[in-house]
Structure formats: C-alpha cells, structure tokens
Amino acid sequence: MTIDNIRATFIAEAQEIITDLEKSLLNLEQDQNNKESISTVFRSMHSLKGAASMFGFESISSLTHNLETIYEYIRDGKSKLSNAVLSVTFNSLDHLKKLLDDGDMKNKELKNSHDSLLKDIEGLLLEIQGTAANAIASPLAEKPVAENTYYICFNPVDKILHNGTNTLYLIEDLMALGEGLSLPFFQNLPSFADIKPALSYTGFEVVLCTDKSEEVIHEVFMFVESECQLSIHKIGAGNLLNGEAKQRLNSQGTFTILGEDKILSILVPASASSSTASIAAKVQQIKNVSNIRVSSERIDEFMNMVSELVTIQASLSLHAQKNDSPALLTIAENVEKITRRLRDNAFTMSLIPIESLVIRYQRLVRDLSLELNKEVVFKTEGTETEIDKSIIEKLTDPLLHLLRNSLDHGIESPDVRVSKGKPKQGVLLLRSYYSGANVIIEISDDGAGLNLEKIKAKAISKGIIAADAVMTEKELINLIFTAGFSTADQITGVSGRGVGMDVVRRNISDIRGDIEVSTKENKGTTFTIRLPLTLSIIDGLLVRIGDTDFILPLTSVNKCYEIETKVLEESFNQWVTLEGQRTPFLLLRRDFNILDGRPDLSQIIKIIYEGGHVGLVVDRIIGEYQAVLKPLGELYREQDEFSGSTILGDGLVALVVDPNRLIKKLLKKVN
C-alpha cells in the first residue's frame, strides 16, 4: 500500500463516519434525549479523531477533539444537549467534509472558518464545563502541570492480526489517554505482489501527552506484549506536543522509524523550518487518486439495466439477420461488441474479493480451536480472488460450516497428532483461485481424513444405503452430503447435528455451484467448491424441443452428438454408446411430455454429471446464447430443475435448465 492509498482509505472511511454522524445528529434534532444517538455521535467523533491524527489530518482531529469532549459530558449526563451544540456540530460536519479535500487548509477561507469554528466549540466547552474550566484539556486553556510527554514505539510482529488483534484499536486506546500523535511506519514491506493481506507490516511511533502514568500506557499493550517490540519512554515534562510542533512532526511523513531523538528534536526545534512545498505536493497527489463509493442498490440497478440491454441487443441481432441488410448487420454486430464489453465491465463492479469473507473467519477459527483444545493455524491463499457480491453473501454460512467441520472432525487433538507423527499444530487452509469462468474455493485440513468404513457403517445403520451395497470410494464420500447424515459420535456444540453437509451442498447449488470432497486417511480432507463468477448472466447453449426453447449452461456441456431418434426411442435400458463410451441418456421430449414435431435425427448433449457423463436428448441445437437470468417465481418453486428463464431476441421465454438437478430428478424417476 502506498501512502496515497492509506490516506484514500482514511478519507473513504471518514466519509462513512460522517454520514453516520449526520444520521445520528438528525435523529437528535428530533429527540434531544436519544441516548443511543448521543453515544453514536461520541463514538464517531472519537474514531474520526483517532483516524485523522493517525493519517495526518491534524485539522480534523483538532476539530473533533473538543466536540468529543462535549458529547462525553452529555453522554455522561453532566450536561444537556442544547440547540447551540447541535448547530455547531452540524456546522462542524460540513466543515469536516471540506477538510477531507483540503486537510492542510490551503484555502484561506477554510482556515478562517476553521478557526472560528474552533472558537465556537471552545466557547461551548467552557460553558459546559462551567467553573471547572481547567479540568479538561483544551488547546487554549492552561494545561495541568502533571502532564508528561511520552515517546512510544510499537512494532508488532507481522502475524499480530492472526489472533484478531486490531492494531488501530490499540492506537486509538492510546490516544484516548491524552493528546497524542501517531506516526505509522512500514517495516519489511515486501513488493506489492508479495503482500499477504493477513499480515501486518505497520508499526507506530506515538508521541503522547498525558497525565496518566507510564503503567497505564503499558496496560494498553497488555495483551499483545508477546507479539510486539514495545518501548515507552518519557521524553519530557509538560505538553511538548503543542499545535506547531504537531504540524512539524506530521509533515515528516517518511513512514520509517524516526527514533526518539529525532522526534524530540522536531518537537523542540533549534530553528523553525517549514516544508510547505512538500505539503503542497502531497495534496496534489491525494487529489489524483480518487474513488467513489456507490451504494450497492445503484450497482444492482445498473446491472439490471445492462441485463435489459443484453436482451434488447439479442433482439436487434435477430432482426438484423432476418432483414438481410448488410448495414444493419454491421450495426448489430457493433452493438453486440459494445454490449459485451459493457456487460463485462458492469460485472467487475459488483465483484468483491473473497478476503472480505475470510476476515470474519479468522477470529472464529481461533476461538473454536481454543474451545476444542486444538492447535490450529488458519492460512489463506488467493483471497484477492474476486466474486460477485451476491454470491459472497450466500457463501458465508456454507464456508463457516465447512471450517467448523474441519476443526471439529478433521484436525485431531495435539497429542493424537503427535502420536501419529504429525506436527502438533494442525493447518487449516482456505485457498481460492480462478479456473476458466469459475472461481474455486478450497478448504483443506491436514487432519484425520474421512473414515470411509465409519461412513459406510453409519449410512447402513441410518438406513441410507443397504447393508450389502457395493459402492465406490467416491460414492461413499458423497454419502456425507445425504440429509440426516452425521459421523460425529458425540454431538458437540460446534458441529455434528447432522443438518450440516446436505444443507451446505444445497446452499452451494442454489448459487449454481458444486462441491467435491477428496480425502486421504491421516493426510487430511479437501473440500473444493466451484462457483460461477456471476449469477445474473450465463453463457448457455440454446436448444429446442418441440416448440419450446431451453438453455443449458455451457459450463456443464461437454460435447454434442447427432443420433437417430428411433435408436433412442427403442433403447430399453436408456444407455447409448458415444465414442466407445457407454453413457446413460435422457430423452427429454419424453420426460417433458412434449409430443409435437418429433424429428428423425436428435441431438445428444453430453453433460458432466457427478464426475461422469449423462446425455440429454433434444431436437435441435440452435447455438450459443448469452442468457440474462430471470427468476421463474414463487409459483414454480417446485420446478427447481429450471434455474430460471430468459427472454429471447424474438420476445419468447426460454427456460434455463439446471442440468444437475434435472438429471438427478429424472434418474430418480427411472430407478
């Protein structure tokens, strides 16, 4: 991450906080005694202040500092919210928004209004504090003598994030002790490609002016002391961090460790030196990096419109072909090209990295492994892989379940592992990567692996399979996805209620994905989830049976063959030999009860189904088609062999087939 990026992140974050603030303030305007809104305002001010001073937006932190104090008084019931306070807060909000663009107040007018606001706030604060004006620190009031200035250097190990510690919160806690300034630095920052999102590369130097003792400062780092290098030194009595010194320190911006001596020399300079030129350069840089936050509804709406456009474009192409006008054909082709690009572009907008999902699991894995007395490291790879946000939302629960299962059933307790000659610490790995038009997410552990004998015995005792059933390894493994199956001998609080794996599979197939398992005894188990990149548009094969059009997703289509309809109709066992391979087939016109227009030659489409192949027989193959998925709606809930429908160029509706479900349903009927 570059400095610009960090500041841009802060700005985005600050804008979010300000929006929340605004909401709470509007609430307060209606109901001045709303406790919740008051503490929201206080919290927002607090986090804004902390973040601002960390990223060098000194103007913001100075403004929010006293406002925070005011709201603290109100929150604690020591004072009442007045209209005057509200109006000043609103003004400050507007001002804060401007400050985000021009943090160093290059604009004179901004600077003037900043100063007058500061004065207003201060006036209010003094009023609130009443006679005890000197109790709370305010820049103009005289500071109590008991204050000391400390230099704190906090350099965490890179794995500090693994146990759920948020270093920013530590800094925030530190800042809450008094007036402070934090200077982040980067150590061992690798090249961009090698950055691991789960590692921390940031340390902080903090100059803190507080009336608390050194022990109190130490306490902030109590829980992370083993995971960081920490040094805390008193560098002087009183507040060395006055406004100007702060500015000077802030303008350093080297993002390397300055060291105690250097900082002290900046705070108490021999001669004042200004570096306005570098500040100006920085402001310029920040302006160049711009991103906007767009609400997800607007993106959804945009996606819908793009989908509509794809439909209209299909209709245009069809019309152009019918009219046989070369000029129109060219236009149609160009529109098609642009539409395709627009579609791809629109998709990338709603993609978010899998990382956003993984962060939630880090903590869970840690807590669970403690609860289960297991030693586990949770590793992630390829979490920058991006996937549609609606898919991410639906993945949370299934992935959570798989992780829990791996922790509970997969990874053994430390002594068992040692007796097996494995390292004491188990490894849980979440890996994701692109594969063609799919995203693959793998969850693997180096635990005991699935015990096939146990699975078989369980399935027999539960009546899922017959006692003398002959099954391949793969079929046995797939039994764990059967409803009502659970191999845990004991039901633990973590997993093993038997509602698990079948629900996981169903959730995943709801988003048109599938899940596979591979396992090796004592080596571990890997769950592989294959997901489409997006849910709203699929590349499909348009086929026709009778006068009804169907769309098969191209991802599951393997090959197409032509065969005499008579041969298929007269086949007694529903098997056909394709390229020397015996393949079961389904004569869809029979299964769909479509009687009209029987062709002499039919098309068999070989579909990949549960590791093997099944042929689906249709009348005609029309061609490739980009289908915009439209739900069939509540009334067709039972017909889940159709994942939806799409509107063709001629305005007719075609049904989008979910081959896995269709084959499963139809084969069940045959058996």
Partner: protein, 162 residues
C-alpha cells in the same frame, strides 16, 4: 379516484357459464394471449410463462384451477395480470379468463355472504355474492384462490356435488 371508490369497483369476467368478480385494486392489466412457454413437469393448472415487457410472468389456467374442462382459446380469451399475496410476498401472476365483462361498482350492502351449504365452491375462496340482472356474480378472494398450490381447488367440491 379515492381509495374507498377503488375498493368498491370490481372487474367481472366469465369462466364457462359463471361470472366472477375481482376487486380492481388487485388487477393490474388485461392482456391478449401471447405465445406461452410451457414449463415441463409443472402442475396441470400452470399454463406456463410469458414475457411481460421484459419480466417473466407465470400464467395460471384458471379453468383447470376451477375444475372446468379445457377449451381452445378464443379471441375473447385473455390474461388478467393480478397481484396476489403468497405467503408474505406480493407476487404478480397472470390468470386466464374466457372473457372479460365490465368494471362495475358494487355497494357493500349489495354483497351477500356466500352460501355455506349447496355451493360447489369452498367458502374460503369466495368473499361474497352479488345478484345483478338475475345473475349471481361471485366475488373471488384472489389471494386464497391463487396462492393455493392444489392442482384444482374446486374439483373435489364439484365431484362431491355431482
């Protein structure tokens, strides 16, 4: 038009020999029969889906649903686009009718309670009856009629009454 007036207006339509009425507040529009895509393996009364200006609308064969024998579509056959509440969702569906009659105002005092005995229709599907020009018109409770997933909600009753 105020809400009270809306509530008193009913659209009447014909199915076989019977005339039914539906509150106009529930009827969004009336369509000619376009080409309908049949969804295989769906219940008999589900006629299929149509393209309603870019969204996909399921169409119910009301005759089948009401236990009447199927007939070929005529020029008068049409689809009523209605919004019904299924579960907790408001769903837009199409329902076929042999022909649409008119929109009429029915005063609340004109509406009689549905007869509990001797009717071939279950009372939960009928909101009330009204006699106009010597003809009984049945006011349907569209929510219960079309949210029921039974193949034919009236069939059983007809078989019994026969």
């Amino acid at each position: 038009m105020t809400e009270a007036e809306t509530l008193r207006s009913y659209l009447t339509f014909r199915l076989g020999d019977e005339i039914f009425a539906a509150n106009v507040g529930k009827v969004l529009e009336i369509l000619e029969i376009p080409q309908i895509t049949k969804v295989p393996r769906s219940p008999e009364f589900m006629r299929g889906v149509i393209n309603l200006r870019g969204s996909v609308l399921p169409v119910i064969d009301t005759r089948t649903k009401f236990g009447l024998p199927p007939i070929d579509d005529t020029v008068n056959t049409c689809i009523l686009v209605i919004s019904v509440i299924i579960g907790e969702q408001t769903v837009t569906i199409g329902a076929t009718a042999d022909s649409v009659q008119e929109v009429m105002e029915i005063e609340e005092k004109q509406i009689q309670a549905p007869p509990s005995i001797g009717s071939k229709f279950k009372s939960e599907f009928i909101e009330g009856m009204v006699k106009i020009n010597e003809q009984f018109i049945m006011i349907l409770n569209l929510d219960t009629v079309f949210s029921s997933n039974e193949a034919s909600i009236f069939q059983e009753m007809i078989e019994k009454s026969n």
